[in-house]
Symmetry: C2
Subunit: 210 residues, 2 copies
């Protein structure tokens, strides 16, 4: 996919560095020279431009991209940039918003997916507090989630069946060993130091010591 990232603050830079790892062709645009220079090694092309200027975006070839992300919290710049992307015919437009009002304006303008990284981050953190041992967490509903746990030292050498008692409230789903994902782990497989265990269950069961 060819993707344009407009705005290279913390969110835009985090997006850029991850997209680079996922084999996308990325164009990065920002009005700040320093941000563009820092971005250049992480993407296919980086350019200094005003994202509210439709002609400047056209000249950069943004119109031919598969998708674009507007990554600035400045309301006016963000909304104008989103409208420019539509005028240039970009098929999929995404954006970050800094407030609920900003998010609803972007949705009205036709942005297909809007995120609010600070609010979303706070909500996600509320769950990470409960399941402290987890390195990441995905909420399924108010009480259930999926937690990713580095295998604690006392489990090294034990079989998986030691942590998956067929318990109805906490289920072992997946094992990631040294970055390789095993979608259907076999029960008698031995747990090692490089393993991460992925469980689903109620938050209080996910919070229990492994």
């Amino acid at each position: 996919m060819q993707i344009a990232v407009l705005g290279l603050g913390r969110f835009g830079s985090g997006l850029l560095s991850e997209l680079g790892k996922l084999d996308h062709e990325v164009l990065a645009v920002d009005s700040n020279e320093g941000n563009v220079q820092r971005a250049a090694p992480l993407c296919t092309k980086a350019a200094v431009a005003d994202i509210t200027d439709e002609l400047a975006l056209r000249d950069l070839g943004v119109g031919g991209m598969d998708a674009a992300v507007v990554a600035t919290g400045v309301l006016e710049a963000s909304v104008l940039a989103a409208m420019n992307l539509q005028a240039l015919g970009v098929p999929a437009i995404y954006a970050k918003a800094s407030t609920d009002l900003h998010a609803s304006i972007l949705q009205r303008v036709g942005v297909s997916r809007v995120v609010q990284p600070e609010q979303d981050g706070g909500e996600r953190f509320a769950h990470l507090l409960r399941v402290e041992a987890a390195r990441d967490y995905l909420s399924l509903n108010a009480d259930y989630g999926i937690g990713v746990y580095p295998a604690p030292p006392h489990l090294h050498g034990q079989p998986l069946s030691a942590v998956d008692s067929g318990d109805t409230t906490r289920r072992l789903l997946i094992v990631v060993r040294d970055d390789r994902v095993e979608l259907n782990p076999v029960r008698d497989r031995v747990i090692g130091p490089g393993d991460a265990l992925v469980f689903a269950g109620r938050d209080e069961d996910l919070a229990r010591e492994l």
Copy 2:
């Protein structure tokens, strides 16, 4: 758990509203009167105070809390508040940081978990772009993840076996029906409009149409 949230910006407010749903006793503190008033209905107690003032935190009973989160991006206030929490003997201290440097200072001071919501949000969004149909995503490694999909209309009335072909690259893990989580969904269960399907697999397989 009794938890103190110091700083009620977007991150702190998102955290507060989610903690309230999870049955914790929460004390919310901010120097801005308006933020405290907005927070009051979402928590057990809300107070106006300077989080860099150790005596003010002591008088609010922060020392007796099980955990505390420092939720301000202002470097000096954040680090001083974290040190105050340690001096008051709060056992678990968490914080958000606005830059890598800020994060490393907090870790050096002894904060147990530091998040950077903007950077983390950008990285997560890079994956959500690839698996567009997913409403949420948890990354397992650079290529694999877990996606949560609202059941598309063309699958309503079909059995789960229609989407879980025992395919080695995309595995159906869990079904959430109208907010109730089914950890071990049976294959011949019929998919309904209120269902969300949770798959694990390679990103490009998660991106495939259901």
